[in-house]
């Protein structure tokens, strides 16, 4: 059985990865982001200022849709 591929709806911002198809625009991640690095635009989360992001992971922790998560950290080895 072939697994359905996730449509090309993930946007890799480096520090953060956002799946715009899965995001339902609830606003929880942006409301509780300590640095306001992300914001809601047109009912989807998007990056406001990626430099402000500290990869604290709170958005990933509280996203009900698994639509935003922390990308590879600077000092992390790949794989």
């Amino acid at each position: 059985m072939e697994k359905k591929s996730i449509k090309g709806s993930e946007v890799d911002h480096g520090k953060l990865i956002i799946n715009t198809e899965w995001c339902k625009g609830c606003g929880i991640c942006t409301a509780f982001c300590p640095t306001k690095a992300i914001e809601l635009k047109g009912e989807k989360v998007t990056v406001a200022d990626i430099e402000k992001c500290t990869q604290c992971g709170l958005c990933e922790l509280r996203c009900p849709d698994f639509a935003i998560y922390v990308g590879r950290k600077k000092n992390e080895q790949k794989g």
Partner: protein
């Protein structure tokens, strides 16, 4: 590519999940998988069983042996699985109405037996799937579609109920306190006995709207502002605790586990004349 966690433990081709925008259930479900990840459980041996309701759709998204049963009966099915094959790790996900209304009898007896099942009740104080009827955990005076003039029932305290019935590990967290959900679920799985974690979840669509609690963010803010860890509560006055609710680990008292006790019977009698 979804996150590593989602890739490993979710059936990603069935996502996005069907829950409403801002529903706490996705957060709690994810927190449960973090616990499974931290414990390094073998997914082939994990069974996730649910009843009927919004929370009970969770197992369908999880890549384990998953069983979506009938309303209120998850614990009875799960008991059969665990007793027939005690090597399986059985996790049960239920809603507040599912577990304490129609499922009430199975709930108290699973606690009483202290069978090694970890149960997470996604408590959103309402029957969400059927459109917002009040449940045994809807606060008094709140409204639901079948309590249009305000609920005259008193609400259960699920943790008190579980503890009194015999559960040996009991705790409460919220979708805001997602890390605590993970910790409690992890400890619950490690407890060899019946573990009950009540996870308060926000239902912005029905409970929230009907009772003017705001949207997802306001409901989550409410959880943050009104939850008090039981260790901190010990030092607070009744006035300070007014309107607040407790979270944290409430009970951790291991006792003989059901399937192990049954195994002792088998060991003592197996092979003797049928």
């Amino acid at each position: 590519m979804p996150s590593q966690l989602v890739e490993k433990y979710f059936r990603a081709d069935h996502l996005p999940q069907i829950w409403c925008p801002g529903c706490g259930h996705g957060i709690i479900t994810r927190s449960i998988t973090v616990a499974i990840e931290q414990l390094g459980l073998d997914p082939d041996k994990v069974c996730v069983v649910s009843g009927i309701g919004c929370s009970s759709r969770a197992p369908g998204y999880l890549d384990f042996n998953t069983l979506h049963t009938t309303h209120g009966r998850a614990l009875a099915f799960a008991t059969g699985i665990k007793l027939a094959n005690p090597e399986l790790k059985v996790i049960v996900i239920m809603g507040d109405g599912d577990s304490t209304a129609i499922g009430g009898n199975h709930f108290i007896h699973a606690c009483r037996r202290n069978i090694d099942i970890t149960t997470i009740i996604f408590n959103n104080n309402i029957y969400g799937m059927t459109g917002g009827q009040y449940s045994p955990t809807t606060p008094k005076f709140d409204k639901g579609t079948t309590a249009p003039y305000g609920n005259i029932d008193k609400a259960f305290d699920i943790c008190d109920l579980a503890s009194a019935a015999g559960a040996t590990y009991v705790g409460r967290a919220t979708s805001y306190h997602a890390n605590m959900v993970t910790t409690l679920v992890k400890n619950g799985i490690m407890n060899e006995g019946f573990s009950l974690i009540e996870a308060i979840s926000g239902c912005p669509t029905y409970y929230g709207r009907k009772n003017k609690k705001g949207g997802p963010v306001e409901m989550m803010q409410w959880q943050k502002d009104h939850a008090v860890n039981i260790t901190a509560a010990a030092k607070m006055t009744p006035e300070q605790m007014e309107g607040k609710f407790l979270i944290g680990e409430f009970k951790n008292k291991p006792e003989p586990e059901y399937t192990k006790e049954y195994q002792r019977i088998i060991d003592s009698i197996k092979g003797s004349d049928v």
